[in-house]
Symmetry: C2
Subunit: 315 residues, 2 copies
């Protein structure tokens, strides 16, 4: 592998000039810069991450903390990981995965945390390096997330537009900002249209939403749409409506949220609010690297729109 030194010799300059071309190009004349770029191209120069890390007193490592239990997660995180990893790669950074099992060993330049719940606040605050959350929070920590409120508002509008008379919201039974935002998107649009909100919160498992439908079937006349805070809940709803020989999407509509995998597993395919997980992962990575370079300077929040992806569970 070609080194800085090789490039320097080829371009007839010192190592330092080459280093500067890479890190502080404004300090080098255009003429030399051209020579150096040329040499780098010819030698197919790739900086040595280890050397760079050592010299900068960095690790070139970002740790990804996944606080959620793995067996309740969808392939969701694979997309997130891909997005993060690709972006980190571009900056000669690599990834370390931390889960509940393994405590934090080794060092890193920064953290990306996901699956966070209120009770993890202390843990997060104890992190001594630039940190970015994947998922909105009220702790004042920079984050990336879907625009949960806007997302559910959009879905509610759509349901109304399609003429469903009763629109029932099935939320996830946790006291977290994302859950509140989704609910708010629903209630806001409902009241804008002078409709009565109808909200139930359930544990995020398909068997609970199925049981819920079973236990309350007589409360749901034809022309009802179930707006679910996750595809998982949506799945259980579909299952139980079918069990009652309900007509989807004629008499009953279902809309889920996430659009990662389960919406495709459902039959018929679930209409859902699809998140751009991979892009959000990349955004997390960019944000944390920027924060590292700017010595921990706050980066603010970044919200992504969801896409209403139509399946066979809505008219």
């Amino acid at each position: 592998m070609a080194t800085l030194n090789d490039v320097a010799k080829k371009a007839n300059v010192s190592k330092m000039t080459v280093s500067r071309v890479i890190n502080h190009p404004e300090q080098v004349t255009d003429e030399l810069k051209e020579l150096v770029y040329e040499a780098m191209r010819e030698l197919n120069y790739r900086p040595n991450a280890a050397a760079k890390a050592l010299a900068n007193n960095r690790t070139q490592i970002i740790k990804l903390l996944i606080l959620e239990e793995m067996d309740t997660t969808e392939p969701y995180y694979m997309f997130l990981l891909t997005g993060i990893a690709n972006e980190l790669d571009k900056h000669a950074y690599s990834l370390q995965l931390l889960t509940h099992q393994n405590v934090q060993i080794g060092d890193s330049d920064g953290f990306i945390v996901c699956g966070m719940r209120q009770e993890d606040e202390e843990l997060i605050k104890s992190l001594d390096k630039p940190t970015v959350l994947f998922g909105q929070n009220e702790m004042g920590i920079d984050f990336v997330d879907s625009n949960n409120e806007e997302s559910m508002a959009k879905a509610t509008e759509y349901a109304i537009e399609k003429g469903y008379e009763k629109i029932v919201y099935l939320g996830i039974d946790v006291d977290e900002p994302f859950a509140r935002s989704r609910e708010k998107g629903y209630t806001t649009v409902m009241s804008n249209h002078g409709k009565e909100p109808c909200i139930f919160n359930l544990e995020n498992r398909s068997r609970y939403s199925a049981a819920f439908i079973r236990d309350n079937w007589d409360k749901f006349p034809a022309n009802t749409l179930f707006l679910c805070a996750s595809d998982r809940l949506g799945l259980g709803v579909i299952r139980e409506i079918k069990e009652h020989d309900g007509d989807i999407p004629g008499d009953y509509g279902v809309i889920g949220h996430d659009g990662v995998f389960l919406d495709q597993i459902a039959y018929p395919n679930l209409t859902t609010l699809k998140q751009s997980i991979t892009e959000m992962g990349a955004a997390c990575a960019r944000m944390v690297l920027k924060k590292v370079n700017e010595n921990g300077k706050p980066q603010g929040d970044q919200l992504f729109e969801t896409e209403l992806k139509l399946g066979g569970t809505t008219r």
Copy 2:
């Protein structure tokens, strides 16, 4: 962070002795070793991966190549990743994820490849670093996998034992070693019991297995068990049996394979052959690191048993 030097001073020895205690402890007297260990403990010494990498002309990075498309994969890979990452962490290694999107940039000490198909042979052979495959193969490359044959044999035995008269095998329609092994496990046990094998291969999507059941429903009398090469296929089978008001698990049994996530999504929960993905991931990591340390010396294969996890789709 404490360095080698700090430890050396504290223990009144040279850096080199400390380094030796870590890497070649047999070259140091027990007396000094104790002093050094003591100092390391007191200072909470953690080796600097970047420095180590630089000195050893290593990268301390293992690349994970995922050749499969992400949207057809289950959370499967998250478990694998967790296993790999935890193990790598222990050895101060970190991970880089490569997918179809991003070509290989940067350098690494070794590769773990998964989701490989025959057509990827050339790519794999072009890798210039120690490589381990996740998934059996006939290219002579070291691998880790479930014992596919044994796994299906076990399931077939179980189905027979439970008195299902007809046992239908639904395989995945690809010409890959893992698929052949699974089929072989089934056929071997069937012929041992003097029963006629009945095999169909389908694309690995639930809607295809559902369609298959629909189109051939009259061929499957009561007391039939469907042994599926994936939980995904199993899901479609369950769906369609229910559509025909078939009794599961009384008249129809279903067994899937993988046990990662979909088996729990299914209703009733799918009886499946659960793989120890996380452990296999760790095994991959150990194997590739060993291979790196031994300059690419072949490591052979490692097969893991699956666990027959009973759900509600078998008697």
